[in-house]
Point group: C2
C-alpha cells in the first residue's frame, strides 16, 4: 500500500504519527499546499523513529483535481487519503479516481441549502456530489470510503455494530458528541480555542441541521423513497442534556448538520437518524453572533484593497487547533446513542462511545485529543484494507463494512492493535 | 474660508449636505482615498442644488501627512476638516499644520493601554499625541479644534454651558448616549447594523474606559496634578439604567473610553468626568464574543495568502453605516448629565441633550440620524470660526469656546440657524 495523504494540518499530522507505528504500508506521502507544513510532519515522524524512511513531504494544490491526479500517479499511490477541509473534497475525490487510486476522507462534499425552504427541506446534501459518481467508481473497480474519521467514521462503525450485534430493531441512531475540554493561556487562564477547525464548526452548526426519519420516507403507495426521509431544521434545534461518560457529565446538545445522518440510512435499518453536538451555551451564543455579523460567510468581501472570506478570517484569528494540545485538559467523547429492541426482544437503550483523554494523546503521540481521535480511524481502516479484511468497490460509507474487526483492532493493546478502547453503556 | 474635508464616508457625506445650505465658506473640497466616494458626495450635493459649484471631489491618501499637506496647499485650504476614522488623526493633524491651515476633527488620536495595569492606570490617552504638539500650533498661530462632532463635540459644548450658565459647582460631568434605533431588512425583519463605524465602536468599547476624578488628582502636598486624575476600568464597567428623553426611555449604559473624559477636565471645573454609552445587552455580548475570538484585533494576520486586520473585516462585513438610513427607525440621543450645585446654591441634576429622529434627518438631508448628528456640529463650528464669533490658537477642545452662540446657532430655525433644537431636563 502506498498512501498519498493530502493535508498536514492537525489531523494529517496526527495520522502520520499514528501510522508510523504500523507495518501495513510501504510508503506514506505527506502533501500540503504549504510544503513546510508537510516537512514539519515528516520531521516529527522521523524524530520519533530515526530509521523511518517511508514518509516523504510534497507540495500539492488540493483545489486542482489535475494536480492531485498527477501527484498520485507520480508517486504510485494506491490510496489517496484526504485530510484537508471539506471545501477540497471534490477535486481530491476526482483526482484520486483519475489516477486509479482508492480514496478515503473524513468529511463529505458540502451541502447547499434549499433555495426556498432552507429550514425545512434538504436540497444538495452532504456527500450528494460524491454519491452521484457511484457508477464511475464501481466501473473502475475502485473504492471511495467516505467519512472514516471519528464522526463521521467511528460513529458509523458503531451503527453497523449495533445493528449486527446488539439490536433486532432500531428506533434511533443518534450520534452524540461532547467534551469537558479546557484550554489555558501561559498564565493559566481559561481561553477560547476550539479543538477543531472553526471553519468546519461554523459550517456544521449554522447550516440547517439534517434529520432522517423513515416515516417521512413512505410514499402514499407504501413504497419507501430514501431521499424523502431527509428534512432540515433551524440551527440549534431541540436542545437536549446528554450525560456523557467518564467524568464528562451532562452537556447541552443541539442538532447540527453532519455526515452520519446521510450515511447511516443507506446501510443500516432505523426509524430515525440524528446528530447532536454538545456545543454548550457559550459556543451557541458565539456562533449566533458570527451569523448576525455576517462573519460566517464564505463569500469574499473587499477589505482595504484585498479580497477575503470573513469565515476564513475567523478561523485564522484563532489558535491553530493542531498547536493547542499542550495547553488543553480534559476528555473528548464521540459516540452513538441507539434506542430500539435488543436481540432478546426487550427494549434497549445503549450508548456506544470512545473517549480520549488529552493527557494520553499528548503523552503517546504529542497530538491533542480531538484531532488525534479523528486521525486514528482512517489509519485503522487503511490497515484493514491493506490486510484484505475490508474490501469493497464504489462509493461506500463505514457502515458498508464489518464493524467487529475494526473495533477489535482499535481496542487491542499496542503493538498488535491501536490500544484505544471503546465503551458501551446500557441505560 | 476654504475647507478641505478628508473622508466621504457617512459623516463626511452628511456634513457636505448640511454645509451646502450655508454661505460662510467659498470652497469645500471633498477628498477621499476612494475618489468615487468623494464624487458621489459632490454629486449628491449638486443634485440638491444644481447651481452649487463650491464643492470639488479629490483623491487623497490620509495615511500620509505629506499627501495631506500637499493637497491642502494646492487647494489653498484655510481649514482641514478630518472626517475619517481615528487611525488617520495624526497624519491629517500634522499635514494641516505643515500646510499652515487650521484643523478640526471629531475623534482624537488613539490611546495605548498601560503595559502592566491596563484596567487601572491610563497610559497614552486619547488626544495625548495631539496635545503634545500644543506649542507648535500656538507658535504658528494656527488652531486645532479637537473633538467637535456630537460626542465628543456637542457634549463638550454642553459642559461649558453648564459651568457658565447653570451650575456654581459641578460634581459630575457624565456624558450619556442612548438610542432606540431599529434597522430592518427588505422583508421588514429587524437586522443588526450599527449606526456608526463598527471599527470605532470596538475601539471605544473594548479599550479600558477612562475616568477622571479630582480626588485622585491631589498630591500629598495638596497641589493638583491633572494627569493623576485619570484612571481606567475594565470594559463594560458599572452598568447603569439611564432614562433617555423623547420616548427612548431607559437603556443600560456602561463606561467606555471616550474623548470627553480627556477634554472636559482641561477647561471645565468638576469633581468627576465620565462617559457611559447605552450599548444594550446584545451589543455587549457581541463585543465580548469578538474579543474572545480575537476579531477585535487591528494587527494584520495572514489569511489564505493575504494580510488583513480582523477588525477591518468585521467592519467591512457589516452594512456601510452611511447607507442604512432608509431602513432605520427611531431616535438617537446625545447628552450630558450634570450633577452639582446650581447658580442658586441648591442641589441640581440636569440632563442637557440633543435628540435626532431618523425620519427627520432622512427627510431633510437623506442622511441617517447618527452620522447626521455627528456631522452637523463641525459645520456649526466652522461657521462660528468663519464669522469670528469663535477664535483661538493652539490645540483646543470645544470647551475652550463660548457655548451659547454655538447652541443658539444650532437651534435657531433654518435658514438663519441649523434648525436642530437641543433640550434640557432638570431631574
Amino acid at each position: 500500500m502506498r498512501v498519498l495523504m493530502i493535508g498536514a494540518g492537525g489531523v494529517g499530522d496526527a495520522a502520520a504519527r499514528i501510522a508510523a507505528e504500523r507495518d501495513f504500508f510501504e510508503a506514506w506521502f505527506v502533501a500540503d499546499y504549504d510544503l513546510t507544513r508537510a516537512e514539519r510532519t515528516v520531521a516529527a515522524v522521523q524524530s520519533r523513529s530515526a530509521k523511518e524512511s517511508r514518509f516523504t513531504a510534497l507540495q500539492v494544490d488540493a483545489s486542482s483535481a489535475t494536480a492531485v491526479s498527477e501527484l498520485a500517479t507520480e508517486v504510485g499511490a494506491t490510496h489517496v487519503f484526504n485530510a484537508v477541509d471539506p471545501r477540497f473534497v471534490m477535486p481530491i475525490f476526482e483526482g484520486a479516481l483519475a489516477a486509479g487510486a482508492d480514496y478515503l476522507d473524513m468529511a463529505m462534499s458540502l451541502s447547499e441549502r434549499h433555495p426556498e425552504e432552507p429550514y425545512a427541506r434538504a436540497h444538495v446534501k452532504l456527500g450528494d456530489r460524491q454519491f452521484a459518481q457511484q457508477e464511475s467508481w464501481e466501473q473502475s473497480g475502485r473504492l471511495a470510503l467516505l467519512g472514516i474519521g471519528v464522526e463521521p467514521g467511528l460513529s458509523d462503525v458503531f451503527a453497523r455494530y449495533a445493528a449486527d450485534h446488539l439490536f433486532s430493531h432500531i428506533d434511533e441512531l443518534g450520534t452524540r458528541d461532547g467534551a469537558n475540554l479546557v484550554i489555558r493561556d501561559d498564565a493559566g487562564n481559561e481561553i477560547f480555542a476550539p479543538g477543531f477547525s472553526m471553519w468546519t464548526i461554523i459550517e456544521e452548526c449554522l447550516n440547517p441541521p439534517v434529520v432522517w426519519e423513515r416515516a417521512r420516507a413512505t410514499r402514499p403507495d407504501g413504497t419507501v423513497d430514501l431521499d424523502r426521509g431527509f428534512f432540515t431544521l433551524p440551527a440549534f434545534s431541540d436542545p437536549e442534556m446528554f450525560d456523557f461518560p467518564e467524568g464528562i457529565g451532562p452537556v447541552e446538545c443541539v442538532h447540527v448538520e453532519h455526515e452520519e445522518v446521510l450515511l447511516m440510512p443507506r446501510w443500516v435499518d432505523a426509524e430515525k437518524v440524528t446528530f447532536k453536538y454538545g456545543l454548550g451555551a457559550e459556543m451557541i451564543a458565539m456562533l449566533k453572533t458570527l451569523q448576525t455579523l455576517g462573519l460566517d460567510s464564505t463569500t469574499p468581501i473587499e477589505v482595504k484593497g484585498v479580497m477575503v472570506a470573513p469565515r476564513d478570517v475567523v478561523a485564522a484569528a484563532l489558535p491553530d487547533p493542531g498547536t493547542i494540545g499542550p495547553r488543553m485538559e480534559g476528555n473528548t467523547c464521540a459516540g452513538l446513542w441507539v434506542t430500539g429492541t435488543g436481540k432478546d426482544g426487550r427494549p434497549r437503550r445503549t450508548y456506544l462511545y470512545h473517549v480520549v483523554d488529552n493527557a494520553d494523546s499528548m503523552r503517546d503521540y504529542d497530538a491533542q485529543c480531538v484531532v488525534w481521535q479523528t486521525a486514528i480511524n482512517p489509519v485503522v481502516a487503511l490497515e484493514l484494507l491493506a490486510s484484505g479484511v475490508w474490501t469493497g468497490t464504489g462509493v461506500l460509507g463505514p457502515e458498508a463494512f464489518d464493524a467487529a474487526p475494526f473495533l477489535d483492532l482499535l481496542a487491542a493493546p499496542r503493538p498488535q492493535g491501536y490500544g484505544s478502547p471503546w465503551g458501551m453503556e446500557d441505560r
